[in-house]
């Protein structure tokens, strides 16, 4: 029940089906009453005609005159049968020829009955009346007139009616449901559009929802847009504040560091200052990492960020005769914050440049089969001494609080690790084909 349109369809279809069923029942009952009444009328008419036509027979008993007989009573197995019967005599209409059937027991004077019976395999309704033609006659002078009418045509009519009824109602129901589904599609189209646009914002293909929503949704779309813009501004402000905080904390530390005398007494104090610097750096940077796709932020082209960093690092490591190769698959992009990517890649590349002899290589590619948050694959490798398998966990600072690391050694990598974790990505250290270490990073992207 997680779809609005399914809910609506079910909630409308159920009463509709129930309503149809009740209507069909009522119509069916009405039809049956009607046909029973017409059957009764037929029986009554046949009875009256039979009584009127009955003449006494010379040998006793009564029988209708042959020419007065209704044609259906003369035709064998016509579906209309009659019987006149007293204790001594009995007459059956010619239509009963070849039909075995019991019209029921004789009645006493003045009695009437309506019963149902089977003549062979034919269901019939039987009306019987007991009549005395002479006043005060004995029971032997009581004649039971019976008329039987086959129910087959009525039942056939009934079933035909029911079939038609069912056909019409099913058709109607189907048409209604189809119309309803189409209406729902139309009514819910703006919701689907909103869903699509939110998805686009999530993937960074657009930065706000479009205009032109119906009145009921315009407010929601407007609020979402305001939220998106506000959130982006807030993150920006937050970062500025953290940057300013770092600045205003570190400058006094720099002053303290600068004021230390250059002798052994300053070593402890210097160490403490470095530790404070490490804490500030790590905690503030971690707080500044957004960790997660910032809604509406465009995907970050890895190639561009990599080129910027390459330019910067070639300047910083100008002494090293550095070959910094970039192998970026076209279109590789990171879904998340540009500053976060810059920090992660900056730290990894800086680290590689620090340890390499002369070669550093950055590759980027997309793995569409990977889980959504790990589609962008980045590797940074160098031709330096590498990292022993046993040291890899320690280098990443797993299980070690980053501010306990030696400044400048572990903070950068611990920072990278933390940010990758925030994004739900993955980080591994392997041996590189270049001879040194290879850091492979998986992040949300394409």
């Amino acid at each position: 029940m997680h779809s609005l349109s399914r809910r609506l369809l079910i909630s409308v279809a159920l009463p509709l089906v129930l309503f149809s069923a009740i209507t069909m029942l009522v119509l069916d009952r009405g039809f049956r009453t009607l046909s029973e009444r017409s059957l009764q009328e037929l029986l009554d008419a046949e009875m009256v005609a039979l009584i009127a036509a009955a003449d006494p027979l010379p040998g006793g008993g009564y029988a209708p005159a042959a020419q007065a007989l209704e044609p259906r009573l003369e035709t064998p197995q016509s579906g209309v049968y009659a019987q006149i019967r007293s204790r001594a005599h009995a007459w059956r209409s010619p239509s009963t020829a070849g039909v075995t059937g019991d019209f029921g027991p004789p009645l006493r004077h003045g009695e009437r009955s309506l019963t149902y019976a089977d003549f062979d395999h034919e269901r019939v309704a039987i009306e019987s009346r007991a009549i005395q033609f002479e006043e005060g006659a004995a029971e032997s002078g009581t004649y039971t007139f019976s008329v039987a009418v086959s129910l087959a045509p009525y039942e056939q009519q009934l079933w035909q009616f029911r079939r038609q009824l069912l056909g019409w109602f099913s058709g109607l129901l189907l048409a209604l449901l189809v119309t309803l589904a189409a209406l729902l599609r139309w009514v819910l189209a703006p919701l689907r559009r909103m869903e699509r646009e939110i998805h686009a914002v999530e993937e960074g293909r657009s930065d706000t929802l479009g205009a032109g929503y119906p009145r009921e949704l315009a407010g929601v779309a407007g609020n979402l847009n305001a939220l998106l813009t506000g959130e982006r501004k807030r993150v920006g402000r937050y970062r500025d504040t953290l940057g300013n905080l770092a600045h205003s904390l570190k400058t006094p530390l720099a002053v303290m560091r600068a004021s230390l005398p250059a002798d052994a007494s300053a070593v402890t104090l210097g160490g403490e200052i470095d530790r404070m610097k490490g804490i500030i750096e790590h905690q503030l940077k971690r707080a500044a990492a957004t960790g997660g796709a910032l809604l509406g932020a465009a995907p970050v082209e890895v190639a561009q960020v990599a080129a910027e960093l390459r330019g910067a690092l070639l300047k910083v490591y100008a002494d090293k005769d550095l070959a910094l190769e970039l192998a970026i698959a076209p279109g590789s992009a990171f879904i998340g914050d540009r500053g976060d990517l810059l920090e992660m890649l900056g730290n990894l590349l800086d680290n590689a440049c620090k340890w390499c002899r002369s070669r550093v290589r950055l590759t980027a590619s997309a793995d569409p089969q990977a889980p959504a948050r790990q589609r962008l694959l980045l590797t940074v490798e160098d031709d330096g001494p590498g990292i022993d398998a046993g040291d890899r966990d320690r280098v990443l600072g797993r299980g070690v609080r980053a501010d306990e690391n030696v400044p400048g050694h572990g903070i950068g990598l611990a920072m990278v690790r933390d940010t990758i974790e925030l994004y739900g990505g993955a980080l591994a250290i392997e041996a590189s084909g270049l001879g040194g270490a290879r850091f492979s990073v998986q992040l949300p992207g394409r």
Binding site: G243, A254, G270, A288, V316, A318
Partner: protein, 228 residues
């Protein structure tokens, strides 16, 4: 070597002035971006240190304006934010290296010396021209392996000439870089110092490391050795 320090934090600025002075530099200081920009454009500098979080003209803008004015001396940025965004922007604006605050002075000095070396086309901190070797870190000079005792001024002149070995450097330029702006200048002092340097480096007058080009200046003429 003449260095400009643009830093708004007074203690830090004074410390840098003092320590760079001790390390043999002529130091100009500026308290904010506007002062810094004026000094950076007007003074004959060899290197500048610029804090990015400056009042007045922002540090990044200062660097851009200096580069736009076709000044090529190396610039070292000091950053307290220490994020790659700022480092990349600073380096793109035209800076050559960065140091994150808080720093140890020795690190800043090492970076500045490396920048100066690189600006002169030297790959190693030891400047070697034939038998003359000048170590910028230890501030020592040796000829054919034998150490040569130099005074501060003598060392500064030799360092300047050797960093740009092969180039002609005018007497005026040497004076400007050796003395503070308002110092009473006397170009005879330079001639005297060059004369003393020649005697100390080349007592037998066999190497003739420093040429005099009449009316144009001086040139350290021994060929540079290739890097190690």
């Amino acid at each position: 070597m003449r260095i400009l320090v643009v830093e708004d934090e007074a203690t830090l600025r004074e410390m840098l002035k003092l320590r760079f002075g001790e390390a043999g530099f002529t130091v100009d200081v500026a308290r904010d971006g506007d002062e810094g920009l004026f000094a950076a454009l007007e003074y004959p500098l060899d290197v500048a240190i610029v804090d990015l979080g400056l009042p007045g003209v922002p540090g990044m803008e200062l660097i851009r304006r200096v580069r736009a004015a076709a000044k090529t001396y190396p610039i070292l940025i000091l950053t307290a934010r220490d994020n790659w965004q700022e480092k990349v922007e600073g380096l793109q604006a035209g800076a050559d290296d960065y140091v994150a605050k808080p720093f140890q002075f020795e690190e800043v000095l090492a970076r500045v010396q490396a920048l100066l070396r690189r600006a002169g086309g030297w790959a190693s901190p030891q400047l070697k021209c034939g038998p003359v070797v000048l170590d910028t870190r230890a501030q020592t000079v040796a000829v054919r392996g034998a150490p040569v005792e130099l005074t501060t001024f003598e060392y500064r002149i030799l360092e300047h000439l050797m960093l740009r070995a092969g180039e002609v450097i005018s007497k005026g330029e040497l004076t400007e870089r050796l003395y503070d702006q308002d110092f009473e200048r006397d170009s005879n002092v330079i001639e005297v110092l060059i004369g003393r340097l020649r005697r100390k480096l080349d007592p037998e007058d066999a190497l003739q490391p420093i040429e005099t080009l009449r009316g144009r200046g001086y040139r350290f003429s021994l060929p540079r050795d290739a890097g190690p």
